[in-house]
């Protein structure tokens, strides 16, 4: 338990009058990629946003690298080393690709410079469109930029919300390769509906249902558990 990078203990979240998270408890160790699975409305995105402080937890505690963060402001949580990629192509349309990178970059150091080079190698299209407004990129390129932008910073944990949503299969394959390389350097918590991509990238997984964790285990074990897959993922 003490080795955990991130721990949620009985976390409840209300959005307006709706009780979305109803006691989520999970623990994530450093390294690899942890997948959050579940049907639509299960509370996966809300879990990420609650961790990030975008929705306040009404009950329970969240610890990141041993420090309580559930009362912290979002910008402080981000500065502690947590990056967040929301599901809606979180790029700034009116800024160029370069400006998008600069906006999210940590102080330019040798590490961030190297990260930038790595990321541009990973997503060569972004180098090509370096001076292009992000709003002019295709859906896939926008999603690549959204992920790449956060990866440039020296984050120790990346929360990525449904990166494959609305992307063409070939782009999803590229995304999978990129995520595999990213998870070698940075711990990733990935919310994903595409089970194939989740299996390709993830090591362990949690299934959420009605705002609670109903399964935790290795993702390859889950793939073999057909009744569980049918019951909670409809696959």
């Amino acid at each position: 338990m003490n080795d955990s990078m991130l721990t949620l203990d009985d976390v409840h979240t209300h959005i307006g009058q709706h009780h979305i998270l109803q006691g989520v408890s999970l623990s994530v160790n450093p390294g690899g990629a942890t997948i959050l699975l579940g049907r639509n409305g299960a509370g996966k995105s809300t879990t990420l946003k609650t961790i990030m402080g975008l929705y306040p937890a009404s009950k329970g505690s969240i610890r990141f690298k041993g420090e309580k963060i559930h009362r912290e402001k979002t910008h402080k949580i981000a500065r502690m080393g947590m990056g967040f990629v929301p599901e809606d192509h979180a790029v700034l349309f009116n800024l160029t690709v370069e400006e998008n990178f600069r906006l999210s970059m940590v102080e330019e150091t040798e590490t961030t410079r190297q990260n930038l080079e790595d990321v541009l190698e990973l997503f060569p299209a972004l180098r090509k469109f370096w001076k292009t407004k992000a709003g002019l990129l295709s859906g896939g390129q926008k999603q690549m930029l959204a992920i790449a932008r956060v990866f440039v910073c020296d984050h120790s944990l990346l929360l990525i919300d449904e990166p494959s949503k609305g992307l063409a299969p070939i782009v999803v394959d590229q995304l999978g390769e990129a995520l595999l390389r990213i998870k070698d350097k940075t711990k990733v918590i990935l919310v994903e509906q595409n089970f194939n991509l989740a299996c390709q990238v993830g090591t362990d997984c949690f299934i959420l249902d009605d705002g609670q964790v109903v399964f935790h285990g290795m993702i390859d074990e889950l793939a073999k558990d057909k009744p569980m897959m049918k019951a909670y993922l409809g696959i």
Partner: protein, 377 residues
């Protein structure tokens, strides 16, 4: 640790490490802009009429004020009705000091600038701290109430402001309208012309400052707040702080615009600088020019001021062609009606403002040409 303002500055310095294509080249757009500035400078010599100079000076002043409002509305997404109040604070700072001083000197203008900046910065900080944390609509209502309060104060505090009658004053030093310095190209160089060029150069300098500000790392953060505040926060920015930067800078520029306005007219009254109609005009100018374009403020200010000044005259001249028709005479008197129609037409044909729509159209063409190129590949 995510970069903050200090860090962003360092990054700006290190720009060249990421892109080496920073060789400045004069584009046709730059040439056009320079041409406009030169034309503004030549106006007093080409059209030595006060009316033309007056319109041009007001266009320049309102370009500045509208651009500073665009920084708030178009770049940061803050709707503040108190912006006109800061314009009034600047105007009254210089007017009150020069009016209440027995022998005004050049340094009294400097003192007025300092006072207006201190008052504007102080007041904008107070507004920010007390009201930025509330929702956008409540912030707008609060600032509207404050602006109305400033207007009432200007009207009621007659011993200081002269009430509704306002105050007239004379400018000191080379700005005094009675001073003449000779003739150039059949145009008398006098205090008014000096003030005209003061307005031209101040507008240029402050407008360039606004452009630089929006393109700075801080400006990028402001745009990210406008587009999606949650994203900016999630990247590690304390958005509240950046919103304060925007309000303070925008308000300061508006108050400097007020100083120029008062210096040009040598007269202020509450209705000419504090009235809600001024704020509505500023808002209209931003909408006409295009929010978040900054350069659109030139178009917005020019459209509104030229229309206000010359449309009534144009209609009157047209009506004189048919002197026997009472209906035509009555219709010609209602110039606001035609202005309203013009405004509706602008909104219909330029939904994002003139410059905003042109830019969107240009971007669309770029997308289309790129998709054609991709298809050809």
């Amino acid at each position: 640790m995510i970069m903050d303002s200090g860090m962003t500055d360092k990054m700006a310095v290190n720009d060249h490490t990421l892109s080496k294509e920073n060789v400045p080249a004069l584009t046709s757009l730059d040439t056009f802009r320079i041409g406009i500035v030169i034309l503004m400078g030549l106006v007093p010599f080409i059209f030595p009429s006060f009316r033309v100079m007056d319109v041009m000076a007001k266009i320049m002043i309102f370009t500045l004020v509208v651009a500073s409002f665009d920084l708030l509305l178009g770049y940061t997404g803050i709707l503040s009705f108190a912006h006109g109040m800061f314009f009034g604070i600047g105007a009254y700072s210089v007017a009150l000091i020069l009016y209440h001083t027995a022998a005004p000197a050049w340094y009294h203008i400097i003192i007025a600038i300092l006072i207006s900046l201190v008052v504007s910065i102080g007041l904008s900080l107070v507004i920010s701290f007390f009201s930025l944390r509330v929702k956008a609509i409540f912030f707008a209502m609060l600032t509207l109430a404050l602006a109305e309060f400033a207007h009432i104060l200007g009207v009621q505090w007659t011993s200081l402001t002269g009430g509704e009658d306002g105050i007239s004053f004379t400018l000191p030093w080379i700005f005094n309208f009675n001073h003449t310095f000779g003739t150039v190209w059949h145009t008398q160089i006098n205090g008014r012309l000096v003030v005209y060029f003061l307005i031209l150069f101040s507008t240029l300098f402050l407008f360039a400052g606004l452009v630089r500000f929006t393109r700075s790392p801080v400006g990028r953060v402001l745009q990210s707040i406008r587009d999606n505040e949650q994203r900016a926060v999630a990247l590690g920015y304390q958005t509240f702080r950046y919103q304060i930067y925007s309000i303070v800078f925008g308000s300061s520029v508006a108050s400097l615009g007020g100083i120029l306005f008062a210096m040009w007219l040598c007269y202020v009254n509450p209705d000419s600088v504090f009235h809600t109609a001024i704020m509505v005009n500023i808002l209209l100018m931003v909408l006409i020019g295009g929010m978040g374009t900054l350069y659109g403020s030139v178009i917005g200010a020019a459209f509104l001021i030229i229309t206000e000044n010359w449309l009534p005259q144009l209609l009157k001249s047209a009506a004189e062609l048919v002197p026997q028709s009472h209906v035509i005479q009555v219709l010609a008197d209602r110039w606001q009606l035609y202005f309203g129609i013009l405004f509706v037409l602008v909104v219909l044909f330029f939904p994002k403002g003139v410059l905003g729509t042109i830019r969107a159209h240009y971007r669309q063409r770029v997308i289309e040409s790129e998709s054609i190129e991709n298809q050809l590949k």
